[in-house]
């Protein structure tokens, strides 16, 4: 995120340069080129270890598209994403395994992200196996569960036996078991209740203390992001319009989209 690329290059984990994404819209006529619509235009970001970046913007601003490009779920129409100096598009199998370990994703709806037929312990074991993580898997899982504030006995339960908040912790644990270098969370608290939301945000806030990991938190709720992260990136109409430290952005917003978001965030 830092502007002095040269100084931070050694620490940079994930670099996005001028990423754009267009999707094919439905054809309107029988014989016509498919219309291309832009979802993201020329977005760049450098993510270094220890970063805690909040991505905000109204719906349709390109936040999720950007996050999916970061995590390799989408290939940008133009631009380059590189992980530890290697372009994602030109990765060897070995490097790709490293990337898949290194970048983990937490989704909005925890209930939809667990296989209801699996015990949660097995769901947590899955990434350890498929990403070929060495070490005592049971120990890793136990430690991670304690870290996210869950009881170790939860591994014998099924997803429907847990509340939304507990399950979101479980989803975070599943992302953390492989010790990622970058953790991306897309609206992780917006499907949760008020009292539980604070618990989850506190958990993310604790995770920002980890100097070996970068956290990317995406939300439409500016207050939630500002509370949790150190830096803020504002998306609007498919591009990055403003970025800076939380206090810079909140106290002296430069772009209208930022001002709108601050304005819309009604307090008690």
């Amino acid at each position: 995120m830092s502007k002095q690329d040269s100084a931070t290059e050694s620490k940079a984990i994930l670099i996005v340069e001028n990423a754009s994404y267009e999707y094919r819209a439905v054809r309107k006529k029988l014989i016509s080129r498919a219309v291309r619509q832009s979802a993201l235009g020329n977005a760049s970001m450098t993510i270094s270890s220890g970063d805690a970046i909040g991505i905000v913007g109204s719906s349709g601003a390109g936040k999720t598209t950007f996050a999916r490009i970061l995590s390799g779920q989408l290939v940008p129409s133009s631009g380059v994403v590189s992980y530890l100096g290697t372009d994602l598009q030109q990765m060897s199998n070995e490097n790709e395994l490293g990337f898949r370990r290194g970048v983990q994703y937490v989704f909005q709806n925890p209930r939809a992200s667990f296989d209801p037929r699996l015990k949660l312990g097995d769901s947590l074991l899955e990434p350890l196996k498929s990403l070929k993580i060495l070490g005592n898997h049971q120990n890793i899982i136990d430690q991670t569960l304690i870290k996210v504030g869950l009881d170790i006995s939860m591994i014998d339960r099924f997803s429907h036996e847990l509340s939304g908040g507990q399950l979101q912790r479980m989803a975070i644990a599943r992302a953390l078991v492989v010790k990622p270098k970058v953790l991306i969370a897309d609206e992780p608290s917006s499907s949760l209740d008020v009292s539980v939301r604070a618990q989850i945000l506190n958990l993310f806030k604790d995770l920002t203390d980890d100097e070996d990991m970068a956290l990317i938190l995406i939300a439409h709720d500016l207050a939630a992001v500002a509370y949790t992260t150190k830096q803020i990136v504002v998306f609007s109409a498919g591009g990055i319009v403003e970025q800076g430290s939380v206090s810079e952005v909140l106290v002296a917003p430069k772009h209208k989209a930022t001002a709108d978001l601050i304005d819309a965030s009604i307090g008690i």
């Binding site: 439905v26 309107k28 006529k29 029988l30």
Partner: protein, 314 residues
């Protein structure tokens, strides 16, 4: 609209050519040489050769295929080798029988299926709904040859009310035609009607559970008005899809029913020609059924279009 129709029509043509190639190849591969099939195992090579020339089987296979398609499209379905009669002539008496049976069965099925399906949906939480559900299960599970036999034993043999089989042409005596149609139509229609009942029930229950039904009611729509103006209309899309499939399956049921009630329809004609090993006629008749099913699906697509107005907006 026109683009939509044009695309559907293209799909129709593609399906027509693909199935025609499939049928043509299958008949050649599995059936072997149609001339040999026709004459039997112990025919002389000379006789086979003669038939081949007569039927045009000596020419390259690609030319045979296109000739077949061109003939089909121009309405020339060839001549039955055994009887020496034109297939068109035979079809002229068989098709009305099959269509009458199909329509009769569909009417019975719709008359059973829609009302029962709707009632069973409305009463889905109550005992009567469960009872209807139970009977529709039985209806689905009951084979035609069994329900048909029961029907003809009771109404035909025991009560003597209706004929148990055979056929009288519409032009001869339409009252008699109708009487002959009743039992086969019911036999075939019960099973299909039960399937429709179950689909209508599921589709209506699903729609009535939607939030927008509650919205309608929140603005003063009564429960029954909501059922008819929202429930049935929105449930019609899945129902039409199922109806399309049912009509395709109807063809299979017609074969059994026509045989059971000894009706001289299309299925009987195919069966006769299979038995007499007139494989080129069978090929033509199967193709007719394929075209029939394709047309039904085409109509389903179009009705989809007229039911779901959203498809017209872009």
């Amino acid at each position: 609209m026109s683009i939509f129709l044009f695309r559907r029509f293209l799909a129709f043509l593609v399906a027509f050519f693909l199935t025609s190639i499939l049928i043509f190849v299958l008949v050649r591969v599995i059936g072997g040489n149609p001339a040999t099939t026709l004459l039997g195992e112990y025919s002389t090579p000379e006789a086979v050769r003669e038939i081949e020339i007569q039927l045009g089987l000596d020419r390259p296979i690609v030319i045979q295929y296109f000739e077949w398609i061109i003939n089909l499209c121009s309405g020339d379905l060839g001549t039955s080798f055994r009887s020496g009669l034109e297939v068109n002539y035979l079809l002229a008496s068989a098709i009305p029988v099959s269509i009458s049976l199909s329509i009769g069965a569909l009417i019975v099925a719709v008359l059973i299926g829609f009302p029962l399906g709707i009632i069973s949906a409305v009463k889905s939480y109550r005992g009567s709904g469960t009872a209807l559900d139970f009977f529709s299960q039985i209806g689905v599970a009951m084979p035609i040859f069994w329900s048909g036999a029961l029907l003809s034993m009771f109404f035909g043999v025991r009560l003597g009310l209706l004929p148990t089989g055979g056929w009288v042409g519409w032009s001869e005596n339409y009252a008699q035609s109708l009487r002959h149609l009743v039992l086969p139509s019911i036999a075939l229609g019960i099973g299909i009607g039960s399937v429709i009942t179950r689909f209508v029930r599921t589709a209506v229950v699903e729609v009535m559970r939607q939030d927008y039904v509650r919205t309608g009611r929140a603005f003063g729509m009564s429960e029954y008005r909501a059922l008819f103006s929202i429930g049935l209309r929105n449930a019609s899309l899945p129902i039409v899809t199922v109806l399309g499939n049912i009509v395709s399956h109807l063809v299979g049921g017609t074969v059994i029913t026509e045989t059971l009630f000894s009706m001289p329809g299309l299925s009987r004609m195919i069966l006769d020609n299979v038995i007499s090993r007139d494989i080129l006629v069978v090929q033509n008749l199967v193709m007719i059924i394929v075209v029939y099913i394709l047309i039904v699906n085409f109509i389903v697509d179009i009705s989809y279009f007229s039911l779901d107005k959203r498809l017209r907006v872009k």
